[in-house]
Subunit: 107 residues, 2 copies
DNA sequence: CAGGATCCAATCTGATACTG
DNA sequence: CAGTATCAGATTGGATCCTG
């Protein structure tokens, strides 16, 4: 789901559609500090398959939450970083993460 | 997905699993102000089927984000409200909603 | 290194009809 | 009013193998 395909009933619906999905939150969160290479992301997002990582990154890119920079080197190097729109989401994810930490420790 | 079934890789993952899903955010948001009856929710969440509304409410209840109160009257009356854990999520949803509003107007 | 391609199983969602 | 039940279709995700 990318923003071009979203038909939302309200802003909450819209926002959840843009950052929902199994891995989008985690990916945005691990990219928060700067440039991450594909392989770094792969190691950081434990359990993700290359297919899902690539697919989700492509959606985030089409959505302009993440930008992708390809270096013409051998071996190839590709770096991902947040766009300014993506960075705007980090405070919310941080808040949600704190909530999650608290709840996990309570159960 | 309810919290009992969640096996999360990190707190972000955990939190998204608890509030992810097509309607959870919207439902929490419309219940934010107090008690809502089933029929009110049905009208407020445009496009939801009774099946999905019931199913999602049951998950939110099992997750202790929403509480359900049945009044033994004829005709039946059932009211839903946020638990304190559910209320803790409202600031997050509110912020995310503002972000969504801004982005919707930009496209 | 950073992916693309394919196939398939599991999950989720919608539509419709019915009920205490 | 506040749900259930059933079936079918759509979507998502995982496993595996391949490549510039």
């Amino acid at each position: 789901m990318t923003k071009k395909n979203i038909t939302a009933h309200c802003a909450v619906d819209y926002a959840f559609k843009r950052i929902g999905g199994k891995y989008k939150g985690r990916i945005l969160w691990v990219i928060r500090d700067g440039f991450m290479r594909y392989g770094e992301l792969k190691r950081a997002i434990v359990g993700i398959s290359p297919k899902m990582l690539t697919q989700t990154l492509r959606e985030l890119e089409a959505d302009e939450l993440v930008s992708r920079k390809v270096y013409l080197e051998v071996p190839p190097r590709v770096e991902y970083s947040l766009t300014s729109t993506g960075e705007e989401l980090i405070p919310f994810i941080k808040q949600l993460r704190s909530w999650g930490e608290k709840k996990m420790s309570q159960n």
